[in-house]
Symmetry: D3
Subunit: 285 residues, 6 copies
Amino acid sequence: MTTLPTLSPILVAEAVRLALAEDLGRAGDITSMATVPADAEASAVIAARKPGTIAGLALAEAAFAALDPTIRFAASVADGDTVPAGATIATIFGSARAILSAERTALNFLGHLSGIATATRAMADVVAHTKARITCTRKTTPGLRALEKYAVRCGGGSNHRYGLDDAILIKDNHVAIVGGVGEAIRRARAATGHLVKVEAEVDTLDQLREALGAGADAVLLDNMAPAMLRQAVAIAGGKAVLEASGGITLETVAAVAETGVDFISSGAITHSAPVLDLGLDFTAA
Amino acid sequence: MTTLPTLSPILVAEAVRLALAEDLGRAGDITSMATVPADAEASAVIAARKPGTIAGLALAEAAFAALDPTIRFAASVADGDTVPAGATIATIFGSARAILSAERTALNFLGHLSGIATATRAMADVVAHTKARITCTRKTTPGLRALEKYAVRCGGGSNHRYGLDDAILIKDNHVAIVGGVGEAIRRARAATGHLVKVEAEVDTLDQLREALGAGADAVLLDNMAPAMLRQAVAIAGGKAVLEASGGITLETVAAVAETGVDFISSGAITHSAPVLDLGLDFTAA
Amino acid sequence: MTTLPTLSPILVAEAVRLALAEDLGRAGDITSMATVPADAEASAVIAARKPGTIAGLALAEAAFAALDPTIRFAASVADGDTVPAGATIATIFGSARAILSAERTALNFLGHLSGIATATRAMADVVAHTKARITCTRKTTPGLRALEKYAVRCGGGSNHRYGLDDAILIKDNHVAIVGGVGEAIRRARAATGHLVKVEAEVDTLDQLREALGAGADAVLLDNMAPAMLRQAVAIAGGKAVLEASGGITLETVAAVAETGVDFISSGAITHSAPVLDLGLDFTAA
Amino acid sequence: MTTLPTLSPILVAEAVRLALAEDLGRAGDITSMATVPADAEASAVIAARKPGTIAGLALAEAAFAALDPTIRFAASVADGDTVPAGATIATIFGSARAILSAERTALNFLGHLSGIATATRAMADVVAHTKARITCTRKTTPGLRALEKYAVRCGGGSNHRYGLDDAILIKDNHVAIVGGVGEAIRRARAATGHLVKVEAEVDTLDQLREALGAGADAVLLDNMAPAMLRQAVAIAGGKAVLEASGGITLETVAAVAETGVDFISSGAITHSAPVLDLGLDFTAA
Amino acid sequence: MTTLPTLSPILVAEAVRLALAEDLGRAGDITSMATVPADAEASAVIAARKPGTIAGLALAEAAFAALDPTIRFAASVADGDTVPAGATIATIFGSARAILSAERTALNFLGHLSGIATATRAMADVVAHTKARITCTRKTTPGLRALEKYAVRCGGGSNHRYGLDDAILIKDNHVAIVGGVGEAIRRARAATGHLVKVEAEVDTLDQLREALGAGADAVLLDNMAPAMLRQAVAIAGGKAVLEASGGITLETVAAVAETGVDFISSGAITHSAPVLDLGLDFTAA
Amino acid sequence: MTTLPTLSPILVAEAVRLALAEDLGRAGDITSMATVPADAEASAVIAARKPGTIAGLALAEAAFAALDPTIRFAASVADGDTVPAGATIATIFGSARAILSAERTALNFLGHLSGIATATRAMADVVAHTKARITCTRKTTPGLRALEKYAVRCGGGSNHRYGLDDAILIKDNHVAIVGGVGEAIRRARAATGHLVKVEAEVDTLDQLREALGAGADAVLLDNMAPAMLRQAVAIAGGKAVLEASGGITLETVAAVAETGVDFISSGAITHSAPVLDLGLDFTAA
């Protein structure tokens, strides 16, 4: 069974409501109200102007439905699909005013999330010959984290923790205060429940040994060169999940993946992915 | 007088509240609570890892203050300043737990908005020898439009409309339904108040003449090459503000600006600007 | 084409939700729950007790639907229609409890907004022989601005800006700080985008000349007598939109309109319009 | 002890937040940001342009404080005070931008609520020689009920129920469904708690007797002429509170009060009270 | 006519939305998404594991509908029904994922409210041979008061006031400040509207006489033994509603009820009622 | 270092705001406003009427501060402390009205959460001679989960997952659909990130072996008798965390703990804990 990523309908409804409220403001779509008859209907198509991996169709559909529940929205692809330039993503039929008023909100969601999925897919493809998986970070756009993490899954990536509260990640600043990574791990273990994993960031192989000795579930290897990562993999010997992190790019990711680490995390796939270029065009009725 | 861009304190408080709630989740920062004593204090510095233009200091400050109002946050630069790699952006002193818990939220805002300011600044610098100004679009991240438009101003750009409700922008799809750009402009004029400007998108010089004849305040020249833009400038003769739009990049923007248009709009400065790389480091107390 | 004013469905839903929550409180409609069987159905009619112009039918309909989506609400008139005393506005059929529980919320919206439309219509009719149009102000009821501005349109009025953010309006207090209306206009032009209009308030004809010289899009002529307004119209010569303002009443508005100004603004149409008297009566099933 | 009416600080904060958000929109006060230096300070005074009774000072103060907590706001009068034209209501000192940005929100609250207090005061004064008190209804502006009821108290009025949930009021439509006012009262008594009062609307003296017989705490005498009201007072003999209602105006209210009823309710004092004319003027620093 | 207790659909929708958001968090039901195919359907039954009185079916139904509006939810009993252990409460058919994701939210509402109804029912049954009715207090779970008071009605209890605002209840601390219960009652009468009842708490029979003399609608007899309650009933002679309060349990309530008081209030039925044990089981399709 | 449990200030502020809004309603504390002078001050003490473990002091403090930020609140104990009957929990000094208005909200939070802490502490003490720890479930009161889980920690318990999204818990209904616990675990592992733990519920020892073979991090042993639990501990041999669950009470928990399981989960500590009886009394100033 392939488990397709899905989004909670409650999350979708709330995100779309906020975005439409932001775009419609107090007076609404004054251009369409002034120029388009209330009963005009139209057909439109959303197409990809560039190749990419799609994410966010449910948000686009919900944006149109919020303005007119009778609009017919038919997706031509599914979230997670990779499409060529020119591909039709969805067709839409219904109130011309509603389509025009929801267009930008729908495209902003779909373009932003597909941009993240596309960037993730690119990295995932480059490491497909290894066991390493691409994972995201908490370096996301404020307010959109759950959607962006969903887009990472659509692009073939794996999700890191969603917030400060669902897993322990001991970072250099914590270690500096506590005085040692091992002690920090022990404190974390003692203070948290049995369904919380503990990961620790290390800069050196000695720290890695200390983390493994303290029973870390996962270790984040920060800014290590491939040779050092290989040593880390050997030292860990499968006793903890290993995550490589730190300025890894599409150019360098394959070499990192080939060291045998389990995960490679990238902030860039969420915080710096360019939008996927999409357009909505009216078609002859 | 130089009018520095400013942000409404109400907007800042709400954005920060939502972002912190997203990151803290239900259980809060379980790592810092487990490892850092409640009364530990720390000094930290936010520094730029790459050169760029800063935007969003008020959000960073508010993020720390939301977790502990006694934290001291001292900005070393102002929004709109362009800084070199390594520059100190702000220094922070106070509760170590609060600094660690707010760190990512503060940096996500500051990095995202500074990324937009930096991309805008780059384009604005390239056209500084012309009268053309860089302006943004509604291609923004859902939920963050007001903040992103502020970042555009910090980068030396000018703001396009904020939503569907504060100005008329007649686009190709409206024209298609109405049957002509001139008629669409007339309908818009008749339907809206005297403090609403009317801009129309045109693809051809004939459409431009029609829009000018109908009294458009501004005309968006869509996807025209520099030679055609020059003709458009001559035809308009100052009767309307001219905005060039459509796939303009850092490489092509100077040639566009030199045609004599008033504004050049770019979706990329908001939807595809990479984050400005920033870090927070603890310093010796 | 007559463009009927419309209201965003998102705005309607949110306003009705808040109003129903306010009226139902924690315990709900305890009278109807105690006295009316849950399965009782009823027919009712909303009628005008006085003549007036209708605005807000969508809100009334949404109030009933929020309590029972199966209620049938049939409007007999449209927003913007002027009706005689006794006219049927809408008929309703469905759950008696739901009709009784939503009645006051529906009538409060419909009466308040129709009151504003009626007051606007009265002024608009008096100046119909001139080119002047009645426009509103920001003197609205807190929380209801978008709805009240919609009601102004239903009454044949035009909308002034919706808030502090969608147009520049330089008032006497700004001028006092800046030191001159011309300089204030120049600062505003420099600081804002190309889709923002600039209006300035003036008290004298010299200030008017200064504002015109600085390129104001519109000038608000504050508290000027008709003779002085006539001079202002002559001075402006069509170079800026002219708005007369200041204590203008139904008795004085015609004389003001006949001076040739473009707009006459009135706070009273929103902040002091008496409600239109409406009633809901049960009819024989 | 005179118990001054007071407002919950939580209610004030929420109402002001919503109103400022409505006025500031996405971009904020673009006029003041463009024309007034960020560090400019100003003194201002709020004065009454017409005589009236004041209500809502806490909201005005909170509006300024929300934009700059360091603003000094000194009220010259108290809510409930009746002032002559020209009276100073409050003086303000602080950030010029903040004063300008909050001015309209502050005045909209203060003018609207003082208008209601003034209308209530006028009616209350006319009946001061009787035992009758003026009371309000649920015919309030959606979203502002608690504030408007507070303004009624400031004007010397008494409050009717706040919503559908805090008292039973059996109206003609309930009676029509139940088949009799007595039976409706009995059902209400049986279904509700011991701290809920039961009032019933009656059109005839027979209905009054039925209501009294069923134990109503209060009876609303709908649209009865003074002579009939006098009979009702005699019939009731103090066994229930009597409320006269139905189109009572400033001209007719004294005659109604002199019949001996306990309360006279008026929708007009909340739904149709003109605003109290107030202005904010900058003063020499 | 038996008036069944009902819940406002607006209240139900909001409570369910908050509870689902709390349970689904940012990532949603990751277990069901990972293990259950998106198109799998299931049948399930909610059954009582212990005997009890049911309350909250509308919330359970709404929880499933919020995740998938096509789910069929058929209640086998009604709110207020008392059922034996093993009784089927409702059957459900539809998307397996949606049923699993909403299960805990539905059961948490249904179990909590049925627990309150069951505890209330138990007390109500013990006093059924007297005229005394069981009533609740404001000792409810923060955020759930309206729902918990509804559950009390489902269990055969009566509702005390819903908040600080819908009735006067003068307690010992008020009396201590005012200096006497009679004076406190007079102040309350003077300050509040005619639809607000006044109840006062008394510790002694002298205070009771003082409260009756001042015209209290109801008197709360605090911590009085049955013999003293009997005297209180005699003294009051029907002039005020009498409520016994203070540590009354299932063991002692009958003796209290037999003294002739009208109401017996219990905090325990809301703040300490154990949940009614319910389970959801999948059944063979 | 003992890490005291802490609560996010954002969570506290929001919970208190909602609870106060619920209690104050539209009209506020009408009893205190009517009877207590606005400038009266008072001293009060919160005391435990029964022995118990305290949780929620920050919420009580915030409730008073929300009504008057100048109130002085001094806690005499800390969250997590176990106190005898009669112990002073906190002393309060300030506005008498504010203290009276916030009293019930403060006590409702403190009593509810201390009730949970007390129930947890009781179970934790009984198993203190074993390595087993008491843990909670998702059987919490809707809207209060984060607070209730905090109270469990205050009582010496450990926290299970906070929602459907922060850990995998495969239950019998999932297994029924998938066809086997091992396959369900494999699907879960494949679909979720490296910081998500996987727990599976089993009813038999064969299922336990299957779960261990599939690599479960934790196994929930549902409704097993102590003898069977002992076998399960032997089979697991430390390869997974073992959690005993199902109807375990204060009477049976020691026997369960002595089997060697790691965690014992109890729904009753959150869903059925009686409130800790607390009172607020005014003291002589």
